[in-house]
Subunit: 294 residues, 2 copies
């Protein structure tokens, strides 16, 4: 079975659009502010897709191109967005330039506008199961995708490959919670883990998020497992117009016949991440306007 | 091998005492404020042990007995401690009375005085590996105990039984970090986990923190594993003067011969938790006074 993230994301976009169309006509719309700090083409393209999705569902958006000389310059700009009552969500597109201090920047964002869920306060709230948390978009997208396909992970062994701050660690925090759609036995493995293949073969749900193209081969996967591929690796492809193509962390062709379900790349977790960004922006809008969440 | 938490904790107390004796004679001492909100005898005895440890090493302490009628009453009191420049650490002894909102209380504590490490900002900072985090005392105590016994957990499989906010979840967050004394492959299992015994038998380091007396039996443990028992269960013991005795989550007598190393209860993780509370109070004192950490 193919877990079609694109299709599910489209359905979620339609749900959000529906909610927003029911808002009073005089009400202001939710607004997402995106900040780009590099000229990296991948970053620009990610932001573009987010803006397009906002537009589709009726969320307003702003894009700011900065090239901060120092961390403080970016912090001051974030402060303006924090104070702007028209801005519901703030997204600082990563990666930042190397001279900018990442943790300081993420901590500067008002946690109530932190629709990426990268602020440590939100990371901690996810871990401690505080319902006011903003879940990071990729982990939340994985959870929702599995739920929509009615794949119950209660008591199942989820093995996560990769311990990044934006996927592996918050995904573990989320899926181990005592909450609907969670309740998994969760393992986080990484580059220093020994006996990796023996471990991944015990996984009922295997999540590949290490950023290494096609690293997960067929003999890493248990027969009948569910495989979630979070990898987005650009590799050279001369035949393609852009000169590159995007592949995942899983050797899709060889793994797909062995597992019960698998996400493709592209069209799997990528679109779900964007759908969750919209959902978080809507959540922020509702919380900030003290409305009941739909 | 017995992992003697009492002995290691005593050594850490001596180190802290030594640091404090080297402070300028006119400098004020670090101060820990403890708040008791119930007449529960176990809570009173825990606070007593913490105060005694403070006294031993030269940390000042204050104990406040409150019986708050509502959450706000306790929040207001915490605010006073937050603003008191003489207070470095604030400890709200748990459990709280059932009508008090736990997460609200923990979030009220100034994160810079949160020496228990229970504030979600600190939980998130631990997860995201921000060095300014206060680590929760029990998880930190486990890490330090293993380090002092030179048990390297790099790449090893740590299986944690129990997903509480004060032990299981923050311990997982801590041990999966890319940092000295960490770098483990970490699994969190719990009451909803299936094939529990098969899982625990794969553990190189097995941490029992579910709060069920003697739940971990010998056939749960791999030959040569390291077993860490976080359980503190009071069970009736007519022969004892107090009428009860404290036992762990591990069936110590039967497990001890199978494993390479094991912590006793009492005298294992309990004293380490208190030693880490002192260490966190010292860290707060240094950070708040902008001193270089020793």
């Amino acid at each position: 079975m193919l877990l079609d993230g694109h299709k599910i994301a489209q359905a979620i976009h339609a749900e959000i659009k529906d909610v927003l169309q029911k808002l009073a006509t005089h009400a202001r719309k939710p607004c997402l502010a995106c900040v780009l700090t590099t000229k990296h083409p991948a970053s620009a393209s990610y932001v573009q897709r987010k803006i397009k999705a906002c537009h589709e569902v009726g969320i307003e958006s702003q894009v700011f191109h900065l090239q901060p000389h120092c961390t403080k310059e970016l912090l001051d700009f974030i402060d303006k967005l924090n104070l702007d009552p028209m801005v519901d969500g703030i997204l600082i597109q990563l990666p930042l330039p190397p001279h900018i201090h990442l943790l300081e920047v993420l901590e500067k964002i008002d946690p109530l506008k932190d629709v990426d869920g990268f602020h440590p306060l939100n990371a901690g709230k996810v871990l401690l199961q505080d319902p006011t948390a903003f879940n990071p978009c990729t982990p939340l997208g994985i959870k929702v995708l599995l739920e929509r396909y009615e794949i119950d992970i209660t008591g199942k062994h989820v093995v996560i490959l990769g311990r990044s701050n934006i996927v592996g660690k918050p995904l573990a925090a989320l899926l181990m919670q005592d909450a609907p759609g969670c309740n998994a036995t969760v393992t986080v493995a990484h580059s220093k883990s020994t006996y990796l293949k023996e471990l991944t073969r015990t996984a009922d749900i295997l999540v590949a998020a290490m950023g290494r193209p096609k690293a997960v081969e067929a003999d890493w996967v248990k027969e009948g497992a569910v495989v979630v591929d979070v990898g987005i690796n650009r590799v050279e492809a001369l035949a393609s117009k852009s000169g590159y193509k995007v592949i995942g962390d899983v050797d899709f062709e060889n793994v797909k016949n062995k597992c019960m379900a698998i996400t493709p790349v592209p069209g799997g977790i990528g679109p779900m991440t964007i759908a969750m960004l919209l959902k978080n922006t809507l959540k922020s809008y509702y919380l900030r306007n003290k409305l009941q969440l739909p």
